[in-house]
């Protein structure tokens, strides 16, 4: 039964473990059991994980990495269709493509200059943390949070919390743009702005927020 959701295949890139649907901690437990059963087969090997569209944080990936290393198996890649999962894997220095790519892992790690594109709605409880710029095509709902080293652009409604310019070099030079700027809580570098208690806007226009004269101001974006 558990093997329905965990598939192990040998490929030209070594062993590939595909993890299907189900709660992540439970899958990790099942994988643990599976590796235990066939310890001698796996010992000393290196594996790649294929996780589909699942969203994983660095902590989730570390958890599975620990289970694998307990069985003396090395995790070298996490392949996923979800950008966040790929970013988390890249932050841990793992490969995100099973096919070998010409660039070295050092170069593929995100830096303050990189930008991540998120093409979906960020929902309550979801957190995107990225050392570079964050671009969202979709809404950022109340209760969602973006923490970016650089700038944040939201092509949609920004109603969650944003911290831009977490990277010290950029800091208060960062900007936050949104088609509908009504964040619950906006930080740029060390500056903080809370949304006004009542929304008295008569018309919603795209705005850009930045630090001016030691406080955060938002100005309509006009062409």
């Amino acid at each position: 039964m558990p093997n329905d959701r965990i598939k192990i295949k040998g490929t030209s890139n070594g062993l590939v473990i595909t993890l299907g649907a189900g709660a992540w901690p439970r899958l990790v437990e099942e994988l643990d059991a599976l590796l235990g059963e066939r310890a001698s087969f796996f010992k000393g090997g290196r594996v790649a994980l294929r996780v589909g569209a699942r969203l994983l944080s660095t902590a989730d990936i570390e958890a599975v990495g620990q289970v694998l290393s307990k069985h003396h198996v090395t995790l070298w890649a996490v392949e996923s269709e979800a950008e966040e999962t790929r970013t988390a894997a890249a932050e841990l220095g793992l490969e995100v493509e099973l096919e070998p790519r010409p660039i070295s892992p050092e170069q593929s790690r995100p830096t303050a200059g990189d930008t991540i594109l998120i093409r979906r709605t960020l929902r309550s409880g979801q957190v995107v943390e990225f050392p570079g710029n964050v671009v969202v095509i979709g809404d950022v709902n109340p209760g969602a949070e973006i923490r970016a080293g650089g700038n944040v652009v939201v092509w949609g409604r920004l109603r969650g919390a944003v911290h831009a310019g977490m990277n010290e070099e950029l800091g208060e030079m960062a900007v936050v743009c949104a088609l509908d700027m009504s964040p619950s809580h906006l930080r740029i570098g060390d500056y903080l702005a809370l949304s006004p208690a009542d929304d008295s806007r008569t018309q919603i226009v795209p705005e850009m927020a930045f630090v001016h004269d030691r406080q955060i101001v938002a100005e309509p974006w006009s062409v």
């Binding site: 299907g20 709660a23 439970r26 699942r54 960020l122 309550s124 209760g143």
Partner: protein, 264 residues
């Protein structure tokens, strides 16, 4: 035959998950489908009461999983419809009595024999919710047009997406047309706007639901109930039919149309 597993969930409590599960299950069975409704709210079971089957419970979901009884023994046949069964929750246990794997295994055992398996999820985002969601092919998110319920629904949708499941539909329950018209309640459009998932039903706030819940006879079995009609429409949409959304704005004219229909 391979059943579709549909989990009904919401995040927030008291928005009508159990009512929706009972009514949609009953409506599907009334359409001639073979249906099982599973109450996954271990420790706070309700679905049996709403379906009027409380005093027929001998075995429950936890008994099946623990092997105390066979699956068929825990399946209670509905009072009104021959192809509808209920697997009740255990009342003296809690959510940790089950695992997501148990639920997947259980539903897999039934898939061959049924068209639809509906799972009534408990409120919250903890173990009980994870159990209920694990086997789902489709998820119905129930919310009411209140900011707090919509927030919780948003969180739940995010958690479901994180499990790699993307087939969620929205049921907006307990809509009060008079309040929406006065601008004192979120409209269905407002809710869909925030949650950005497809709408599968809008259920008006209707006192027939309270009466039918207390009687243990789902509102879909009553002809005059507006909410019952809304749940029948949801069931039809689940089977792939295209059903236009009820004209809730013309509440009066709809009632008139309905009463005209029955005079014929």
């Amino acid at each position: 035959m391979s059943a579709v597993v549909i989990t009904v969930t919401s995040g927030k409590g008291g928005v009508g998950k159990t009512t929706a599960t009972a009514n949609i299950s009953t409506a599907l069975a009334a359409m001639g489908k073979k249906v099982v409704a599973i109450d996954a709210d271990i420790g706070l079971r309700n679905l049996d009461v709403v379906m009027g089957l409380e005093n027929r419970i001998v075995y429950n979901l936890v008994d099946v999983v623990e092997g105390t009884c066979r699956l068929r023994q825990a399946m209670i046949k509905d009072k009104y419809l021959p192809e509808l069964y209920l697997i009740p929750a255990a009342q003296s246990r809690d959510k940790t009595a089950l695992t997501p794997g148990d639920m997947i295994e259980l539903t897999n055992q039934m898939r061959e024999d049924f068209d639809y398996i509906l799972i009534d999820s408990p409120a919250g985002i903890e173990q009980g919710f994870k159990n209920a969601i694990a086997p789902a092919d489709r998820v119905l998110i129930v919310t009411t047009p209140e900011v707090s319920a919509v927030r919780d629904a948003d969180r739940i949708i995010g958690l479901i997406e994180a499990e790699g499941k993307y087939s969620s539909d929205l049921v907006v329950n307990r809509v009060r047309v008079d309040l929406v018209r006065r601008g004192d309640m979120l409209s269905t459009e407002d809710v869909v706007d925030v949650l950005a998932i497809s709408l599968i039903g809008v259920v008006p706030d209707d006192e027939s639901i309270i009466i039918s819940t207390n009687q243990g006879r789902p509102a879909v079995l009553q002809n005059g109930s507006l909410a019952g009609q809304a749940f029948r429409d949801i069931a039809a949409r689940l089977t792939g039919q295209t059903v236009p959304f009820m004209e809730l704005d013309g509440h009066d004219s709809f009632m008139k149309r309905l009463s005209k229909l029955f005079k014929l």
